[in-house]
């Protein structure tokens, strides 16, 4: 463990400890926030009892169903778009604007198109995630050293072999950045949709619990979502670090 890592753990523990103290002394009242140890106890109870299993399974399954196609479609779209400078110039403002737009506004449209099931939620998560993958993959492809592409040509590799054998591996760290964002965005899409209109899922349960002042359900669920997203991102981050190290040759 590095010194910075120890400091980080100390800071996080200190922060949680401070909240714990503030909650126990009543400076933060019970209606606003549960003491952190309560959240953990409630989370353990919730998982043990299985009361939220259906909601958790639904949200996480849908997130995966949005996330995986977003990666595949995102990477393929980026590879297809990459050679067409003109098309990209036209699309650039769209990409730059995309994450400023409340994509949730399209949810009703998706419901009319696909019915009030899981499909419009998954599509919403996909729509949010895919653009992050496209943007970051394109960014990575732009930074592939010219000499690698020339090497591929000297080796008489075709455009597809060059794209998948040389360019994407070289751009991998950037693609991974997109993949990390896609994790967050697919979850945002699914959970946001569940907040707005849904018959189940973690987002639905959180907003239901919020409306009923049921902090024993709300906080553990929020905590679980945070733990899952940070966990997945940390794993991807470790992978990314390894790729980066290989790239810088140290």
């Amino acid at each position: 463990m590095t010194r910075a890592g120890l400091w980080r753990i100390a800071l996080v523990t200190g922060f949680a400890g401070a909240i714990e103290v503030l909650c126990l002394t009543g400076t933060i009242d019970k209606i606003t926030m549960q003491a952190p140890h309560r959240m953990l106890v409630d989370l353990a109870k919730m998982i043990a009892s299985g009361s939220m299993n259906a909601a958790i399974a639904k949200t996480l399954t849908n997130a995966v169903l949005a996330f995986l196609p977003a990666i595949a479609v995102g990477i393929l779209t980026a590879v297809a778009l990459f050679p067409f400078k003109r098309v990209r110039n036209v699309l650039d403002p769209l990409f730059a604007t995309y994450y400023a737009i409340p994509v949730f506004a399209f949810y009703p449209l998706l419901i009319v198109m696909l019915g009030l099931g899981d499909a419009p939620q998954i599509l919403l998560g996909f729509m949010l995630a895919v653009v992050a993958v496209i943007i970051n993959t394109l960014n990575g492809l732009d930074r592939v050293p010219r000499v690698l592409i020339k090497t591929a040509r000297v080796n008489r590799m075709g455009p597809l072999a060059t794209a998948f054998g040389v360019m994407l591996p070289s751009a991998a760290p950037y693609v991974l950045t997109g993949v990390k964002l896609a994790v967050a965005y697919s979850l945002i899409g699914i959970i946001g949709a569940e907040f707005i209109m849904s018959r189940g899922g973690m987002g639905y349960e959180i907003s239901f619990a919020y409306n009923n002042f049921d902090n024993a359900i709300m906080y553990p669920l929020i905590l679980l979502i945070l733990v899952v997203s940070i966990g997945v991102n940390t794993l991807l981050g470790l992978w990314e670090k390894r790729l980066m190290l290989r790239k810088s040759g140290r």
Partner: protein
Amino acid sequence: MKAQTRNAAINTVLLLVLVTAAWQLLYWSFGDAALRSPAQTLAYTVKLFSGEMIWPHLRETMAAFAVALLLAAVIGLSIGFTLGYNRFAADVFEPMLVALYSIPKITLYPILLLMFGLGMPAKVAFGAIHGIIPIALFTMNAVRNVRVVLIKTGLVLNLGRGEMVRSILFPAALPEIFTGLRVGFSLTLIGTLLGEMFASQRGLGYLLMNAIGLHNIDLLMALTTILIVFAATASIVLLHYDRKIHARL
């Protein structure tokens, strides 16, 4: 330079035509139950602006967004410069910032509501937390990546710390900082709107949420169009300056 501006204009028009065409096609395939045509939406938008109803909401959103953006910029730049300077602090905090950047912040809205109550502070906070982290991360990397030789040049001239920041570090890092502010602008906007959707009873986000609930497709389409036009205009202008600053390097 002239040709570049003209090209940008042509590209923008082309994008506008493409989006409108796709929209019209979508309308033809799904009809009035799902959406409105571009023409209908435009007509409704004009009507909306000539009426009284939208103005207070528009003002509310703009005010919330302005405050949130200011907060995000000030806090984000401060964090970014501090961490950019201090290697050890960056080692400690960068992974935490990255982790915070990666969480679906939308799940935090109930907590913010409980902390700030329904209204302006909650949505400003929601907007600001979306913008702070990208601005901080971009600024930190920008400061850290300032070429060592430029800093040495300043040292040889015996520049003090303040002067070093003002006349070397800041201008050298500016292009990347600007990109951070551009991304921060977008994310603060969406954060503010999401805050309004879930934690407010005024503003365009609230109207949007209401329109979704009541299935008021006219209003929904008009609001979305207004927001997209605003965001796109700002993005295109910011992107233009972003490229201009980067072109000098």
